[in-house]
Amino acid sequence: MLQLSSPEEKCQQLLEPPYDEMVAAHLRCTFAVSNHDFVEAYKCQTVVVQSFLKAFQAHKEENWALPIMFAATLDLRIFANNAEQQLQSKGKGKVGDMLEKAAEQLMSCFRVCASDNRAGIDDSKKWGMLFLINQLFKIYFKINKLHLCKPLIRAIDSSNLKDDYSTAQRVTYKYYVGRKAMFDSDFKQAEEYLAFSFTHCHRSCQRNKRLILIYLLPVKMLLGHMPTHQLLKKYDLMQFADVTKAVSEGNLLLLNEALVKHETFFIRCGIFLILEKLKIITYRNLFKKVYHLLKTHQLPLDAFLVALKMMKVEDVDIDEVQCILANLIYMGHIKGYISHQHQKLVVSKQNPFPPLSSVS
């Protein structure tokens, strides 16, 4: 009975604007959803959000309507997702179009919340900010426009409420800023955020914990901390097992094999490129082994070449070895210098291979 295709008249009879429009659109939306027409549902939902926002803005110094905003905006994003999928399957529509428009609407809501300076803390609309930001993050990550996250991060950083939002919201928030930090190659920061997210994520949310771990693991590995077999088994992430083994042993062959074997998984999660960064760590571990084997501070370059060839790294010559070593020295993974004339790597007598966590 509630699923009507044109409920406007009825609503206008019973409700004040803008609630009349909002409810009418909501009813039309449920009708569309029941017909699996998500494109239409999305359009209706935009009207719901717009009209809600008009009412919300008029609420002076009260925030009781926040839960409605959360529900309406969440539905908006979900319908936008579904609508895009529907269009894609028909070969129409450009990826990200509807999500971007949804993001614009969410930003309007965000502005209303963020600019609520008059109300006291208990009645402030600012409590809606983090939820909306998390929704916006989800969209920006999906449409690959991460740079749009920056102003939102700044807004939260400068907010005095930032540590008082619910744990759930903060876990989600840190998950996304952690991933953004990864993208910006700020691995120390990424580790901080993702670790927080992982530890504070409720233990019953296995799926979420696993998701966080997918991004936390590569970051930790880059900083020299390898996960235990137990951990990987517990969260069904054995794809990382071979990678871990390869990196800690300095086994480039195994690393390449592991990356190829689970390529699809890593690419889909968007961590393939970061895992490739582990190559330099693997070189470092391999060369450190060479150093320990030869027990001298003047290492012939040839030794490294032999080590690489043993790892089946083909078509590498002494010039490339020098380049790789130069890179490791530049990054601070090796303390020393190369003497081309003597064809040797001369390393410092003190701590020539500093621990990974102290570098980068």
Binding site: F272, L273, E276, Q322, S339
Partner: protein, 408 residues
């Protein structure tokens, strides 16, 4: 003050809503949806400063309501008759469009077989959707072929900077016609592929020219637009040259995580093609910060691929100097200049010059690396151009044809 406003917020029915004057007058985006999209559209046209500066972009056209019919061109010549007569009468023909031997007349005559529709900025009051002014896809492809094959690739027209300017403008107009008519499919792909090859070639040939003849940033903007449109078009159906252009896009955007991620998500068949594999290898060398490997792999690229990647090669070379300045930093050690030049794939003299600009000490045949002496040069001191193959106009023209035709 509130007004009753007929809006078409819901596309299936008109509804009467009350709109405040603030909403009507406000230009803030959050109020955009409170007004009819048509009303907002007309505001956009009237000289409002927008980032796109009034360009007809794909997004804007898609915003037009569904009930608008898509224009279908009927102009079967490369230049619409109306424009041809107008430009001829106003002496606004380009040199390449004139009948031979009339160039120096007071009013040169237009050669119908060579005149091409100009690009013109959309403006309020100007109707760019008149069918008689729009060229259908088959004509657009013919036009693109004429521009690239007969003019850009030919050695008859000098100087090439003028050729570039003409072809650039006319190709832009071709793409504009495609946008207005929402052309897609094989013709669209063919036009875009030709545009990309042309723009890539130009970016190499005219690299370092004065800004008035060639602006690399403008060339880059158009190149990126064409590439993203082309890659988007590749999503549907099979395309003969897709591998080649996926590789070119990756090389042109060397270092871009987005570009690499895009290639990694391509179907296995395309990813394993030789062109894409090579481009990925170059990309990997760049990511691993191994300039020695990168420059070596670059030797295996064909000419158009070099055009795509060349702007990244100078930064790659300076990176090598930076890494070696740290890795080989020692007061007593020396590195042979000749060997360094070979690694850089430059002549000895040019290698020495590069070192000098970046603060790397060269004495005779020897280089002394020192991490404290390397300095990041002010950009512009050493031009990318000096690293190019030194070809004069004639040598360029011989290769132009084969390069641009490429996948004819």
């Amino acid at each position: 003050m509130t007004y009753n406003c007929l809006t078409t917020g819901d596309q299936s029915e008109l509804s009467l809503r009350q709109v405040t004057s603030e909403e009507l007058l406000s230009t803030r985006p959050m109020n955009k949806t409170a007004m009819s999209s048509a009303w907002h559209q007309s505001r956009r046209g009237r000289g409002h400063r927008h980032k796109e500066q009034g360009r007809v972009t794909r997004e804007r056209v898609e915003e037009q309501r569904a009930e608008d019919s898509v224009p279908h061109g009927t102009c079967m010549t490369m230049c619409p008759a109306y424009e041809l007569r107008q430009r001829e009468a106003q002496n606004r023909l380009h040199r390449f469009e004139m009948v031979a031997d009339t160039e120096r007349d007071r009013l040169p005559r237009a050669d119908v077989s060579r005149a091409v529709k100009e690009y013109s900025r959309p403006a309020a009051g100007k109707d760019s959707t008149r069918a008689s002014d729009l060229r259908p896809p088959s004509v657009l492809l013919k036009t693109a072929c004429h521009l690239v094959d007969d003019i850009a690739a030919s050695s008859t027209f000098q100087p090439w900077a003028e050729v570039y300017s003409f072809v650039f403008d006319r190709l832009r107009s071709v793409r504009q016609d495609m946008i207005i008519q929402r052309v897609s499919g094989p013709d669209c792909v063919a036009v875009l592929e030709k545009s990309v090859r042309f723009l890539l070639y130009a970016s190499y040939r005219l690299c370092g020219q004065q800004l008035q003849y060639f602006d690399p940033r403008i060339n880059d903007t158009h190149l990126q637009e064409c590439l993203s449109w082309l890659l988007e078009s590749y999503r549907d159906g099979k395309h003969q040259h897709q591998e080649e252009f996926q590789a070119l896009s990756l090389l042109y955007n060397l270092g871009s995580t987005e570009a690499i991620q895009h290639v990694l998500e391509l179907p296995e068949r395309i990813r394993s093609s030789p062109a894409v594999r090579l481009a990925l290898a170059v990309s990997r060398a760049h990511m691993e910060r191994n300039p020695v490997r990168l420059l070596r792999l670059a030797q295996r690229l064909d000419f158009i691929q070099v055009c795509a990647v060349h702007r990244h090669l100078l930064p790659c070379r300076t990176d090598l100097l930076l890494l070696y300045s740290h890795g080989h930093s020692s007061r007593n050690c020396r590195y042979p200049l000749q060997r360094l030049a070979r690694l850089l794939f430059l002549k000895d003299t040019l290698a020495a010059e590069l070192c000098q600009v970046y603060g790397v000490n060269v004495t005779g045949e020897w280089v002394n690396f020192s991490k404290s002496s390397f300095t990041d040069a002010v950009s512009g001191e050493l031009q990318c151009r000096s690293m190019h193959e030194p070809l004069d106009d004639e040598q360029w023209n011989c290769s132009a044809g084969s390069v641009i035709h490429g996948c004819a």
